[in-house]
């Protein structure tokens, strides 16, 4: 019997879901994100049996996890949590890391205190769907003053077309605790449609230090990802968040950071690489609810094929949040004549005595740099590859996690080599 808070939340979310039409996100005339090609009624949650070891997980998850030393692991395949581990020494220190379903059974009060504190089912049909229908999920609680070096790893896998995956990750890092959390969203190259509607919430309590990474690679199949991820940073706490988008047929995500109390500090560094027909629509908010908070947002993307990527980043400093210092910059690099990128930084400042700045660029590979590299004997494709890798390198380094950095570098290199001829043709054309 689920606790009443969950039942109530699911019930009201279901009402919103049934009331709301399928959304279309329109902005400034020409940019539209629509899910009209998504055949939602043909998708359903797929259930799978648990497995005893990483070796029995779908290949796409096994590959991504190879050789990693983790503090704990929660893997959800389709609708089911199929594998969970947690270092027993950490469990002894009071760390909880398991499916959200199990956390609600075993720690209902702890979950109830945080569950959807910063999320709402009222944000649209897919937020409501995630809140009403999620299964499995992940829950992390690191108690006060506990420091964990190795990362906690959550993996959402979709490995069958026709899957609807409703996901919910809730993470709470206690006072002066330190940890690192990764969430991977992975699929092989599926033949057919699938949906991931996800919710993610992280609360960093006073003085907590958290490294957070999201890696999305849904492969070349028709996977729709419509998700909301929100991070709240408490007093004198710090969160460095690195979302990495490496693939997905259509992605619409809202990524928000709230510096909620004095002294809270965030660093948000994102990366995307789109190819083929992919459509990526990101909206990030850097919300400063109190003064003496700091923020630093950098997003970098590259586009090949006919892909489209829109990044809209808002800095919002509310009334009274004086002495806030923050900036936001976004860069996109076009590697194909048919790709389209849009970068829209914006600013709402409702107080005085703050410093806030933003900037955005959309550019192409700099031919002068290509020439310079070619004079060293480096072929044009290699020069372009090295330049794009170098363009992303400062973002990749912010992961501050060698095995994850290696994974991201390898995937970017593979995408660049897949697009090599296209990129060369584009350079010749210019």
């Amino acid at each position: 019997m689920p606790p009443s808070f969950l039942e109530q939340s699911r019930r009201s979310a279901l009402e919103v879901y049934e009331r709301e039409p399928l959304p279309t996100w329109r902005r400034s005339g020409f940019w539209t994100t629509t899910v009209r090609n998504l055949r939602l009624d043909e998708l359903e949650p797929r259930h799978h049996d648990p497995v005893a070891s990483v070796e029995e997980l779908p290949e796409v998850a096994r590959e991504a996890l190879a050789g990693d030393e983790l503090a704990g692991l929660v893997v959800q395949r389709g609708a089911s949590t199929v594998h969970t581990t947690l270092d027993p020494a950490l469990a002894e220190q009071g760390v909880v890391f398991c499916s959200l379903e199990r956390a609600i059974e075993e720690h209902p009060e702890l979950v109830a205190r945080w569950y959807m504190k910063r999320l709402s089912a009222d944000e649209g049909k897919f937020s409501a769907a995630a809140a009403a229908f999620w299964t499995g999920g992940a829950f992390l609680h690191v108690p006060a003053e506990v420091r964990v070096e190795r990362p906690f790893q959550v993996v959402y896998v979709i490995d069958e077309p026709g899957t609807a995956q409703y996901a919910h990750t809730l993470a709470v890092v206690g006072q002066f605790a330190e940890c690192s959390l990764r969430e991977y969203c992975l699929a092989p190259d599926l033949e057919g449609q699938a949906l991931h509607a996800g919710a993610f919430e992280l609360y960093c309590q006073t003085g907590a230090q958290v490294k957070l990474a999201h890696v999305q690679d849904w492969g070349s199949g028709e996977v729709y990802d419509i998700s909301t991820k929100r991070v709240e940073i408490g007093r004198d706490a710090h969160c460095g968040w690195v979302p990495i988008h490496l693939g997905g047929h259509l992605t619409k995500q809202q990524l928000d950071i709230v510096t909620a109390e004095q002294g809270s500090d965030m660093r948000h560094t994102g990366l995307y690489f789109t190819e083929g027909q992919e459509h990526l629509d990101l909206f990030t908010t850097d919300l400063h609810e109190q003064g003496d908070t700091t923020g630093d947002t950098v997003w970098k993307g590259a586009l090949t094929g006919d892909s489209r990527a829109s990044y809209e980043g808002l800095i919002h400093i509310v009334e009274g949040a004086q002495n806030t210092h923050t900036y936001l910059q976004t860069h996109s690099m076009l590697l194909s004549p048919k790709a389209k990128a849009d970068a829209i930084p914006s600013l709402i400042v409702q107080t005085d005595n703050v410093s806030a700045s933003h900037g955005g660029t959309v550019g192409e590979v700099d031919e002068e740099l290509v020439f310079y590299m070619m004079t060293r004997g480096i072929s044009r494709p290699d020069a372009v590859r090295v330049l794009v890798e170098g363009y992303f390198e400062p973002v990749v380094q912010r992961l501050d996690d060698p095995s994850l950095e290696a994974l991201v570098r390898a995937r970017i290199a593979a995408k660049l080599s897949a697009a090599e001829q296209q990129v060369a043709a584009y350079a010749a054309e210019r």
């Binding site: 031919e367 002068e368 310079y372 590299m373 480096i378 890798e389």
Partner: protein
């Protein structure tokens, strides 16, 4: 191995800059190409290397007798040509070591072993009195003028070309940096390297003595001689040459 430039006419933005230049540099020789600003020296350097911003409208460039006038810059480099840039590009996010390894491997069939590369890099950085921490920095990002020029000479040392063109490598260097760079060039000189030093001033030539000096004015080579021609230029300046040339043109 030799670089031969024959009757080279070069335009950029539909304007002819070089009006028929002839010049040969053989392995083992050190040449200086001197001239005032705007005389076409950098145009020649960029054209030798195949910069697409410059169009060869007449004449040709031969490397070992083979016509490379239309060759891509990377082909020229792999054939043994090198250009140390006056204004080297900044390559964001690419460390000196990573860049050099990519460049060294571009000229090889099998990639160099990590250990061998490390040893080669250390040896050459010592030669140029460079701090080992240098190789972790992104190439030319935030480098001082002297560091950029040293990074160029480091590339020269690592890539071991047969003909190297140094475009105003001495400009913007203080006397200490000039000495370090000159020592580096001198250490690399020898029977296996031909060098074309392009410069406005004579001061680098005090450290790196040329075998031949060519003087360029308005897109033409107007005087050629030995090292003493540079000395004469230092004493009398470009005006004396300019006057001589216009007197000769008038007669």
């Amino acid at each position: 191995m030799s670089l031969e430039i024959q009757n080279l006419h070069v335009s950029t933005d539909d304007r002819e800059i070089l009006h028929g230049v002839d010049l040969s540099v053989a392995k083992g020789e050190t040449h200086a190409l001197m001239g005032p600003n705007g005389s076409g020296k950098s145009t020649l350097a960029n054209t030798i290397m195949g910069n697409p911003a410059y169009q060869v409208t007449e004449g040709r460039i031969l490397l070992n007798g083979e016509d490379v006038t239309e060759a891509e810059p990377d082909e020229r480099a792999r054939a043994g040509l090198f250009l140390a840039f006056q204004y080297p590009a900044t390559i964001p996010g690419v460390s000196v070591a990573n860049f050099l390894r990519t460049a060294v491997n571009a000229g090889r069939d099998e990639p160099i072993k990590v250990k061998d590369f490390g040893a080669l890099l250390r040896e050459n950085m010592e030669l140029l009195k460079m701090d080992p921490a240098f190789n972790k920095r992104y190439l030319n990002e935030g480098f001082s003028g002297g560091e950029k020029k040293r990074a160029e000479i480091l590339q020269l040392a690592m890539l071991r070309p047969q003909i190297a063109v140094l475009d105003e490598t001495d400009s913007g260097l203080d006397i200490d940096a000039l000495r370090v760079v000159s020592d580096g060039v001198n250490a690399l000189r020898g029977p296996d390297l031909g060098t074309l030093i392009i410069t406005h001033y004579t001061r680098i030539l005090r450290y790196v003595r040329p075998d031949f000096v060519h003087i360029m004015l308005d897109g033409r080579i107007v005087r050629e001689g030995g090292a003493d021609l540079a000395d004469q230029l230092e004493e009398q300046g470009y005006d004396f040459i300019r006057e001589e040339v216009s007197a000769a043109d008038a007669s």
